[in-house]
Amino acid sequence: MTQPGLYHLLFISAALFFIGVYGFLTRRNLITMLMSVELILNSVNLNFIAFNKYLWPHRLDGVFFTVFVIAIAAAEAAVAIAIIINLYRSHQSIDVENAEELKY
């Protein structure tokens, strides 16, 4: 147990990213896949903040990137849930295996 620094934060961020990747590969329910994507986006945010704190302290670029990523993630989650609910209405299921045909 050493004093936490940049490498510890990068470890957490990488671990969270690959937990999200594992969830994205194994889950077949669209909502749980969306949750895995949220974990991946959060690990990216953590990375930006860690680099801003330890390597780039004279500017705040990492903070701005994190704010933009959070805003885009919120928009993405809203659109994804609208699509999922629409899919549930037409197919009575939100399993990706049942959602294989497109409109055209």
Binding site: M1, Q3, P4, Y7, H8, F11, I12, A14, A15, L16, F17, F18, I19, G20, V21, Y22, G23, L25, T26, R27, R28, I31, T32, M35, E38, L39, N42, N45, L46, I49, A50, K53, Y54, L55, W56, P57, H58, R59, L60, V63, F64, T66, V67, F68, I70, A71, I72, A73, A74, A75, A77, A78, V79, I81, A82, I84, I85, N86, Y88, R89
Partner: protein, 172 residues
């Protein structure tokens, strides 16, 4: 080993354990709650790093917004008390293998790389500093991306309404 270190390791453990439980549990509602705790752990790490504004945004947007949205959509689309179907063991093994190999590769690269710290006075990430730096138009400013993101949010809002609109059956 002082208090701050212990708190950091506790927050890291909270984040990673609840993240792992969130992608492995078979009850979808519990998955959402574990995701909530994972996001709270990340907000705690932001607090630990003295980025209070980002931590507040994380709690407001993720914990207060996205997780609530996800829970609502679970209520709308899932039957109560139903477990998610079991996955094939082969798919689980290969996914775990792929994730672990990617993680190991990333960590080896990170340990071997030595990062260069920038020289310069540290800027405190207060709300005043964030506001003045983000919304000015000189070389450190992010006014244009800010406006682009506001347009994106507007487009996403209209898109959500259009997608989720119930198409009326032809009655007239």
């Amino acid at each position: 080993m002082n208090g701050a270190t212990i708190i950091f390791y506790l927050l890291a453990a909270l984040t990673l354990v609840s993240g792992l439980l969130s992608v492995t549990t078979r009850q979808i509602f519990r998955a959402a709650i574990y995701l909530l705790f994972s996001l709270i752990g990340i907000a705690g790490i932001y607090f630990w790093l003295n980025y209070q504004f980002i931590a507040a945004v994380q709690i407001v947007v993720y914990v207060g917004g996205i997780v609530v949205l996800i829970i609502f959509s679970i209520f709308l689309t899932q039957q109560a008390g139903e477990l998610l179907p079991k996955q094939q063991i082969g798919r689980k093994i290969f996914s775990a293998l792929a994730a672990f190999c990617g993680f190991a590769l990333t960590m080896v690269q990170v340990w071997k790389h030595s990062f260069n710290k920038s020289t310069g006075d540290a800027v405190e990430a207060t709300v005043a500093n964030i506001g003045t730096q983000m919304l000015n138009v000189d070389e450190s400013g992010y006014a244009l991306p800010f406006e682009v993101v506001s347009m994106l949010l507007l487009a996403a809002m209209i898109g959500c309404i259009v997608i989720a609109l119930r198409t009326k059956p032809e009655t007239t």
